[in-house]
Amino acid sequence: MATPLVVSEVAKSFTMHLRDGITLPVVSGVSFSVKKGECVVLGGPSGVGKSSILKMLYGNYAVDAGQILIEHQGHLVDLATAVPRAVLEVRRDTLGYVSQFLRVVPRVSALDVVAEPLLARGVAQDEARAKASELLAKLNLPRELWQLPPATFSGGEQQRVNIARGFITDHVILLLDEPTASLDAKNRRVVVEMIAAKKAEGVALLGIFHDEEVRDAVADRILDVSAFSPRKAAA
């Protein structure tokens, strides 16, 4: 089975220059891989570095050491060292991300926020909007909100816009940072179904889920991040 995501010996620490330059180790020796059609869930107590790992994988956080190998259009890209435009290209075509919070752009409607990743890949506007409508309908976002910018939406509504935006493409790797945190039971089930569909399509998923019910429903295996915690290693 193909393995589109391989993480090898990744380490990360923060140097806080505004606090006398103290160094906060986050994780070290992070090594794992995700196969096609597999959903791996990062586990462990909060503060152990789960979100940081996702952010490194998406390129938001720099990596101190190690490799993050992504299979991108037939060749391997090491995101730990890739130049910005390579990272952007991987994000556009290969690597999707549903963040915990939606970053809203003024004046852009919910529908266009969702359609944007497709437009960026050159899909025609009508087609992209049709696909976006389909997803928003599936996630039960009230139709009267579609044309409004999501800045004033509730947390749950924003999260559904965010999920639709993350799921609209056929990216082969998808990172999920607590996508169901502020959803009700009905919409959580929708998301679980959508994840199952992605798995069936052969997408490699890596996520953080605090909700046990969801986690049990989607996870093929759980990776305990405390194993990479430097505090534990030092102990």
Partner: protein
């Protein structure tokens, strides 16, 4: 990925006597890429922008541009006629103060049409139609086409300046604090507009700003400048979410949260 960069900047320095404007700046700008240069006043970001856009001659270093004919040209060695032609066809420059980039006493239509006339367009009807189309694209009512920018609000003037620059389909646009001095709501509209145009036209842009929110929204990549040096650069998300340098951390932590 496009095979070659649009702009190659190699070790550019500018000194004002013994004072440093900017020092040892090197980077490449790729087609379709938006680069933000951030830093506080006096950090050298505007000096750098001027050196890149040939408004200033660098003291040392080379800036090369990938011409439409496929050749790289050293901008400092280009003849003035050719450089000025480049600036009004393949480049744009959006000033912070629209009055610096517009002709305040000629109509909006002529402001947009000037570049077309400069490259030899001699059909009034076509020039006017193109100008009207561009006014629409920057959300200025078409019936304002014969009004002078003096009668426009700050936001409208800035949008007119953008239309005036984009009418010749440039490949590279320089922007110096394009949202400076505008109300927040007007800023949002302008940012959204610029974002859309950059995407639709596949523009490359270099935007100088001290506003990190502007950089976040518009740019793919950013460079942080301090005391004339580029102290940190990378993917915009990365620099803002995981700033490494002390000054960048200070800058990011100083953003007011709403």
């Amino acid at each position: 990925m496009s095979a070659v960069p649009l702009l190659k900047v190699n070790d550019v320095s500018k000194f004002y006597g013994s004072r440093i404007g900017c020092r040892n700046v090197s980077f490449e700008l790729w087609p379709g890429e938006v680069l933000a240069i951030v830093g506080e006043s006096g950090s050298g970001k505007t000096t750098l922008l001027s050196c890149l856009s040939t408004r200033l001659m660098p003291t040392s270093g080379v800036v090369e541009y990938h011409m439409r004919d496929g050749q790289y040209r050293d901008l400092a060695r280009m003849g003035e006629a050719e450089r000025r032609f480049l600036m009004r066809t393949d480049w744009g420059f959006v000033h912070q103060n629209p009055a610096d980039g517009l002709r305040m006493t000629v109509s909006a239509g002529a402001n947009v049409g000037e570049r077309l006339m400069a490259v030899g367009d001699r059909h009034y009807g076509n020039i006017r139609a193109t100008a009207a189309d561009w006014l629409r694209r920057v959300e200025i009512e078409e019936d304002r086409i014969d009004d002078q920018p003096r009668a426009f609000s700050g936001g409208m003037r800035q949008r007119l300046q953008i239309a005036r620059n984009l009418v010749t389909s440039p490949r590279l646009v320089f922007m110096d604090e394009p949202t400076g001095g505008l109300d927040v709501s007007v800023q949002a509209r302008l940012l959204d507009l610029v974002r859309g145009l950059v995407h639709d036209l596949g523009l490359s842009a270099i935007i100088v700003t001290h506003d990190l929110a502007v950089a976040r929204l518009l740019s793919h990549r950013m460079m942080v400048m301090k005391d004339g040096l580029v102290i940190e650069q990378g993917l915009t998300d990365r620099v803002l979410d995981d700033p490494r340098e002390p000054y960048t951390q200070l800058l990011v932590s100083s953003i007011l949260q709403v």
